[in-house]
């Protein structure tokens, strides 16, 4: 049984002249067998966190525990972890067989025959038995990816670490491998930490998602949770594609008024009590184009996607995106009225970005589009 406890993890790089804080005060508990996705923009500290877990970076402060064992100061090879790297990091001079078996050869007392058997059974599991005697150079991207996975699996680690393992594959293969990876992880029941910058991938794969920004953990939760109930504006903005529409509005009693005569009357003004200005957020799929309404915007571009249309609109220079039914197709340059439900509305503090109100609509009617691209 091996979950992961990360407590108050700090990582500071000392570049001689200045200190760069890469990760600050990160605490998270990961259950045994869980698939946790670390997601965030580049430079947010997600890879550094993963490398600290792997033992490739020294931890400046804080502790890391795998199950009951404190591993903070252990070397990478003594942590019982396996890692899949972004560019696979296959040893170019070794055959697939050599690549998969290398770790066992170096750090286990298994006999050569046992190693051979394990390598072969893992290869069979991944469907690469045919390739065991090829060098990595002769393999396709997807095959290399499998070898990299095989190298991790064969060691039967208590923790898998994956650093953007799918980012080098083309779109079609990527979604195939996504599913395969998830199935594999479920079968093996190994705690997995997966780093990606792609929120779609995060939503699709994670049991839980940990969103990071600027070295600080923003929120940990199920994909639905972070999508529907983001703790702050950053999370709301980062998760979801196309991104949430954000406007700054003045609060006058029950009314929010923003740029371009935008106005919205709240039924429940409790969340905005005590605020003069708030950030207003509406997901593109929650914007409805209506016959007549209080708010209107100019359509700049219509992108027909087949099953739906994306409307790109402008309201006094602010961009607004809507996902609408394919039958709704206003002319570019025309002015359309739009509306949205209060239950779909997000409100954030203008200064801190903290969430004041998030989605309150019923679950089965929402969330749908979030996992698509």
């Amino acid at each position: 049984m091996s979950g992961i406890n990360i407590t108050e993890l700090d990582k500071v790089y000392d570049s001689g002249t200045e200190n760069v804080v890469a990760v600050e005060g990160l605490s998270v508990d990961i259950d045994h067998g869980e698939f946790l996705v670390l997601v965030g923009p580049s430079g947010c500290g997600k890879s550094t966190t993963l490398r600290c877990l792997a033992g490739l970076e020294d931890v400046t402060d804080g502790s890391i525990r795998f199950g009951d064992e404190e591993v903070t100061d252990r070397r990478a090879s003594e942590r019982d972890v396996a890692m899949v790297f972004q560019n696979y990091a296959l040893y170019p001079h070794m055959t697939v067989r050599g690549n998969i078996g290398f770790g066992l050869k170096l750090s286990t007392k298994l006999s050569g025959d046992e190693i051979e058997r394990k390598v072969e059974s893992v290869a069979e599991m991944l469907g690469i038995s045919e390739l065991l005697d090829e060098k990595p150079k002769a393999l396709s991207g997807g095959q290399q990816q499998r070898v990299a996975l095989g190298r991790a699996i064969v060691r039967e680690p208590s923790v898998f670490l994956m650093d953007e393992p799918l980012s080098n594959l083309d779109a079609k293969l990527r979604s195939e491998m996504r599913t395969e990876l998830q199935e594999l992880q479920t079968d093996l029941d190994v705690t997995t930490v997966y780093v990606t910058h792609d929120q779609t991938e995060a939503m699709a794969m994670g049991d839980r998602i940990a969103v990071m920004n600027g070295g600080v953990l923003q929120q940990v939760g199920s994909p639905e949770e972070v999508y529907r109930s983001p703790v702050n504006r950053f999370v709301a903005d980062f998760i979801g594609s196309p991104s949430i529409n954000l406007l700054t509005a003045d609060v006058e009693g029950d009314t929010l008024s923003g740029p371009g005569k935008f106005a919205y009357e709240l039924d429940d003004s409790d969340p905005v009590a005590g605020h003069d200005r708030v950030s207003v957020g509406v997901r593109p799929e929650d914007i409805k184009v209506v016959e007549s309404g209080r708010n209107a915007a100019d359509v700049t571009v219509v992108e027909p996607m087949g099953n739906e249309n994306f409307l790109y609109m402008e309201i006094d220079g602010h961009e607004l995106t809507a996902r609408v039914d394919p039958t709704v197709r206003p002319a570019e340059g025309s002015r359309v009225a739009f509306d949205f439900d209060e239950t779909a509305l997000y409100l954030f503090d203008v200064e801190t970005g903290d969430a004041l109100k998030t989605k309150t609509d019923s679950v089965d009617s929402a969330v749908v589009g979030a996992t698509e691209n």
């Binding site: 792997a54 490739l56 090879s77 790297f85 990091a89 040893y91 770790g103 750090s107 190298r151």
Partner: protein, 278 residues
């Protein structure tokens, strides 16, 4: 159009003529050497000279061997060059690996200090090294020839440049697989450097193989001579036996020519690698 074609044809003809002339120029001395090495001295001294190789190579060789143990000279040269190349490869690749893949204090200044010595001609070192070797009582030894340039600045520079291209993830992956730093070096880094190592090996081997002034100063007794020293001695005798000298020259040049033909790719990449040091 026809005019243009005619001009092109003339141009092509001239280009081929030039290249073929140069090829002939390059081949004549080597051919001449072979002819001279295979003719008995009397035939060779005839005028006009014979242009077809004879069959006296072994006789000439036996005569040469009587005056100077040239086989031993070849053995010495090969021994020195091989040991030197291996030693230098080890030292340069280890140091190059550290400079490419580790962080340590004063890394950059140290590296540039090494690089600065690249521009110094080796002749600069002959006098102090001679005195140093005399003091160490190393004159007339092979180690005095092998050791000084084993820490070869070109070598460390090339190895650093090439090792930099090894992805860090590859080394980290090995680290996670439980490899020690030294295992990472020789089981992961070195094997991926195979072609660079081959190119460097050729640079180093040729450097040592052609070294003349320094061994001339250090090596004293005939049993220690390298090929260049032995050959230079032969030309310095009262009476010059051209047939014997040409046998010696043939023995010095032909194996390297064969090596060049076999390993041409590595030779060329060696030349180019050495030329990229700007």
């Amino acid at each position: 159009m026809r005019e243009q074609q005619r001009k092109d044809a003339v141009w092509r003809f001239l280009t081929y003529a030039f290249v073929i002339t140069m090829v002939v120029v390059m081949m004549v001395p080597l051919y001449w050497m072979l002819v001279a090495a295979t003719l008995p001295q009397e035939q060779f001294l005839q005028f006009p000279p014979r242009l077809i190789p004879g069959t006296a190579f072994l006789d000439n060789f036996a005569a040469l061997q009587e005056r100077l143990d040239f086989l031993r000279t070849i053995r010495n040269s090969v021994l020195i060059a091989v040991v030197y190349t291996l030693l230098s490869l080890v030292l340069c690749s280890m140091a190059g690996f550290a400079f490419a893949k580790y962080e340590f204090k004063y890394k950059e200044p140290i590296f540039y200090a090494i690089l600065a010595t690249l521009v110094l001609p080796i002749q600069l070192l002959v006098i102090p090294l001679f005195l140093l070797m005399a003091q160490l009582e190393w004159t007339n030894t092979f180690r005095a020839i092998i050791l000084p340039w084993a820490a070869n600045p070109i070598g460390i520079f090339l190895m650093r440049q090439n090792m930099k291209s090894i992805p860090d993830a590859l080394l980290e992956s090995a680290r996670m697989d439980g490899a020690t730093e030294f295992q990472i070096f020789y089981r992961i880094a070195l094997p991926t450097m195979r072609s660079s190592l081959a190119a460097l090996a050729i640079i180093l081997f040729l450097f040592q193989w052609d070294l003349f002034l320094y061994p001339l100063v250090i090596l004293e007794s005939a049993d220690m001579y390298t090929i260049p020293i032995g050959l230079a001695q032969l030309t310095g005798f009262q009476r010059i036996y051209y047939d014997q000298i040409m046998v010696a020259a043939t023995l010095a040049i032909v194996p390297m020519v064969v090596l060049f033909l076999v390993l041409q790719k590595q030779f060329v990449s060696g030349i180019l690698a050495g030329s990229l040091k700007e």
